[in-house]
């Protein structure tokens, strides 16, 4: 009897690229649901716009680059990029803002570098930072959580705002609010102390109201990814513990002017960043030891930018800065080959 041949190994694990990416989206669902709960339809509309634009722009550039369109789209990496960016944007961001950010992420930050695997920076974060720098006003117009403002917009109203910029009758002010991190930053500048600031209804038990629940959901999703061996624990643990540590040091030193470590973890994009953004394989370090340094760098930089920098949250900048240092870290954290002496 004759048989077909192939080379070893003859089997493969179930974690393949497209499934991996799909799992990431799956793990984002609880966090997305929490955002929807607190911030309304805008969250979902953003995702729809982002995903559609991501697919269209990726297909477009693949056609120009004469690469297979369908097989590339099928790897689901554009989906993840779009999703991550969408949930990082203000829920009522105008449609063109989302579209611009996503297409920039896909076209410039990913495909022009050669596509998946060749991009030195995290595309979603490039998209985010480009928007933040170019449209600071739109990017900081956050919505107050539904439970704080008491206002909830219908799907139709939300669409009118996003697509046609038609504000509801009682205007923008009733809806919008600063993010908790933003609030802390501005109020600290007004010489208030942290305990005073925290009496604002914007703050919840640990972080911002609503935000903390989303953060908690990201934490769950991240643990699921670790359990499924889709991400390794090294990066998130390093990000969070370094952030906890530095925040703890300053908190001990002066708790009036430095927010508590847990606040830092549960506010803003810390948990999303630690589990979903810093773990982007392409732009981070490869070795386990390297991931520890890389993650620690992100944690510390985020804290530094939040506390002393010009922006309320620093995850995006911290990730991009560490992306730049990743090859360097990789070079110095090469594992010791079996049988090579220990020096």
């Amino acid at each position: 009897m004759r048989f077909n041949t192939a080379t070893s190994p003859h089997d493969h694990s179930q974690n393949k690229l497209d499934r991996l990416m799909l799992h990431v989206v799956l793990a984002l669902l609880p966090g997305t649901a929490a955002l929807y709960w607190y911030f309304g339809w805008g969250v979902l509309i953003n995702i729809v716009i982002a995903v559609a634009v991501a697919w269209i722009s990726e297909a477009f550039i693949l056609l120009i680059r004469q690469r297979p369109v369908f097989t590339t789209l099928k790897d689901n990496s554009a989906l993840v990029t779009a999703w991550l960016l969408a949930i990082a944007l203000p829920p009522l961001a105008p449609w063109w803002l989302t579209a611009l950010g996503v297409s920039f992420a896909i076209v410039f930050a990913k495909q022009l570098y050669g596509g998946l695997g060749y991009n030195p920076f995290n595309p979603a974060m490039i998209g985010y930072v480009v928007l933040l720098i170019s449209f600071p006003l739109e990017m900081t117009q956050w919505l107050a959580p539904v439970s704080v403002s008491g206002e909830s917009l219908s799907l139709q109203q939300t669409m009118q705002i996003i697509f046609f910029h038609q504000l509801p009758v009682d205007g923008w002010d009733a809806l919008s609010g600063a993010t908790p991190l933003d609030k802390i930053k501005t109020e600290l500048a007004l010489l208030k102390t942290i305990p005073e600031i925290k009496t604002d209804p914007l703050f919840g038990y640990l972080g911002g109201r609503g935000w903390e629940w989303a953060g908690f959901c990201y934490l769950l999703g991240g643990l699921y990814l670790i359990y499924k061996k889709i991400i390794s624990w090294h990066t998130p643990v390093a990000v969070l513990s370094s952030m906890l540590f530095i925040a703890f040091v300053f908190y001990l030193f002066d708790s009036e002017h430095y927010a508590s470590p847990l606040f830092h973890i549960f506010a803003g994009g810390a948990l999303l960043g630690a589990f979903f953004i810093a773990t982007d394989p392409v732009s981070s370090c490869t070795s386990s030891r390297g991931k520890l340094f890389y993650g620690a760098g992100i944690g510390v930089l985020t804290y530094v930018i939040r506390t002393w920098g010009g922006y309320p949250d620093g995850i995006a900048f911290a990730v991009l800065l560490m992306n730049m240092s990743a090859p360097f870290i990789d070079y110095y954290t090469k594992p010791r080959v079996y049988g090579l002496s220990k020096q």
């Binding site: 048989f3 077909n4 493969h12 974690n15 386990s288 079996y338 049988g339 090579l340």
Partner: protein, 519 residues
């Protein structure tokens, strides 16, 4: 005897590896069966690492079971014996199980079914014998590592001058999840394995022995414990190691048991360790105590493509199709046939190939079990390959450089420490056939080295020739000089005489020519 027979704590770990779901159960349900003597045995002249053997029999010869068929003078080689009695009907090229799918010289025996032995001289009292004589007997019995490497065992029983061995490690950890021929062998023949251990210890002058056995082999563990008590053989410890592929790899097992690493480019003997597989030790015991050369082996016939997976003892040279037939034949959806396990085994294009010494497993897989490789996608630098690499390499970097044909770089990144275990390719989410790239790079480097050696030889020849020519020229010049001097220095008489002689020579030639013309 020391109190504690089994050790399962204080073990070490090697980097990476993969824990597979247990594929053990299927083929361990039945005892080892002996395959009936097939009509024809096809014995490749090379079934080991080292020099190919030369036949010492010719076509038409009647041979007896255990009779020497082929051997080599070379130290690193292993002779081939007749597994049963019969007639040599051919010595010719035949397809052999090799990744290349090529043919190789084989001796073909038509069996007579009588299984008549040649004369034997068992040595029950080996401890009174000279060690080198014992090693010679083992070498002449054609014994090679039966774990899959097929390296001549007698070489590994000789630590060589300047090396002291302090531990014999017995590898009873299966190499791959599907394979369980060692497990079954221990369950059924533990006492003889222990005799083999003792012979090996005597040859190596070591006292301490550790048997590394996986934690999913409780029956084998019990059998060994019982056998140790029965035989009263001392200084043997059973080390229960966690089942994690590739613990059965020699370097990995040594690390797990001792915490030591075999130095790069070195041998286990460099750190005082020698490692033998249980099957090999069993064969050694048979060779010494019964004077039986290596004629057969236990092989796991398994996979979803085989109707009744089980372990079978069969003669070398048995066509693999016979093994499959004996195990109930193939299922209708069998798609791939492997020699070895699903991680390191190689795919055979046919089952009309003979069983060889290195074959520990015949795996007939279905598409669902051994899926077709997917389309490779770009490397996303996820580092999963690195996390599972038991050699602590950087598989993604090796891939990068191999793909870019930067072979110097691959060597710099320790390509040759890759044991081709396949862990990296197994986990790579982008389904890149990483191991294929490493094999390619290794082959390219080997060809380059060979070329360089050749050109080195050529250059040496050229230089030698140049030197010779120069020397010859110099010699010529010297002679000329001498002659000139001789001429100058001689008197007129001698000059005259020389001229006279030359004239005479010319005259003689003329005459000769005239003569031939007249004739």
């Amino acid at each position: 005897m020391s109190k504690q027979l089994t050790i399962n704590r204080g073990l070490h770990r090697f980097n990476g590896g993969i824990h597979f779901a247990d594929e053990h159960a299927e083929s361990t349900r039945h005892v080892i069966a002996s395959l009936p003597i097939p009509d024809k045995l096809i014995l490749p002249l090379k079934q080991h690492i080292g020099e190919t053997c030369k036949p010492v029999v010719s076509v038409g010869d009647q041979v007896l079971k255990g009779q020497l068929l082929a051997e080599s003078e070379n130290y690193i080689s292993a002779p081939i014996h007749a597994p049963t009695s019969g007639i040599i009907i051919a010595i010719a090229d035949h397809e052999v199980p090799h990744p290349s799918g090529l043919t190789a010289p084989c001796i073909v025996i038509k069996t007579d079914g009588e299984d008549r032995w040649c004369e034997r001289e068992p040595i029950p009292d080996y401890r009174s014998m000279d060690r080198s004589h014992l090693r010679n007997l083992i070498r002449n019995a054609g014994i090679v590592g039966l774990g899959g490497a097929a390296f001549p065992s007698s070489v590994k029983l000789n630590p060589g001058p300047g090396r002291t061995i302090n531990t014999l490690i017995v590898n009873a950890a299966e190499c791959e999840p599907y394979i369980n021929c060692d497990d079954m062998l221990i369950r059924e023949r533990a006492v003889e394995i222990l005799h083999g251990v003792d012979i090996a210890r005597y040859c190596l002058k070591v006292k301490q022995c550790k048997i590394g056995i996986e934690d999913n082999m409780p029956d084998a563990h019990a059998a060994l414990q019982k056998a140790i008590k029965e035989t009263g053989i001392e200084d043997i410890k059973l080390v229960v190691v966690p089942t994690r592929y590739p613990t059965g790899g020699e370097k990995q097992l040594i690390k797990v048991i001792t915490g030591l690493e075999v130095p790069k480019d070195g041998l286990p003997a460099d750190i005082g360790i020698v490692c033998h597989n249980v099957g090999t030790l069993y064969a050694i015991a048979r060779a010494i105590l019964h004077n039986e050369p290596l004629l057969s082996r236990v092989v796991t016939v398994t996979g979803k493509g085989i109707k009744q997976p089980r372990n079978v003892e069969a003669f070398f040279g048995t066509p693999l199709s016979e093994l499959a037939k004996f195990c109930g034949g193939y299922t209708h959806d069998v798609s791939r046939l492997l020699m070895g396990g699903h991680m390191m085994g190689f795919a055979l294009h046919s089952d009309e190939l003979p069983l060889v010494k290195a074959a520990n497993c015949l795996l007939a897989g279905t598409p669902d079990e051994l899926p077709e490789p997917g389309k490779p996608k770009p490397c996303i630098r996820c580092g999963m390959c690195e996390q599972v690499c038991p050699a602590n390499l950087l598989p993604q970097q090796l891939y990068w450089y191999a793909k870019a044909k930067e072979f110097d770089k691959t060597e710099e990144f320790n390509l040759f420490d890759c044991i081709e275990c396949g862990c990296c390719a197994y986990v790579c989410p982008s389904e890149i056939p990483l191991v294929q790239y490493y094999r390619y790079a290794k082959a390219e480097i080997a060809t380059k080295v060979r070329k360089r050696e050749k050109s080195d030889i050529a250059r040496q020849r050229f230089e030698f020739r140049k030197v010779r020519l120069e020397r010859e020229q110099q010699e010529k010049a010297e002679q000329m000089q001498k002659r000139k001097e001789a001429l100058r220095g001689s008197d007129d008489n001698s000059k005259q005489a020389a001229i006279q002689a030359a004239l005479e020579r010319v005259k003689a030639k003329k005459e000769e020519r005239a003569k031939t013309q007249t004739e």
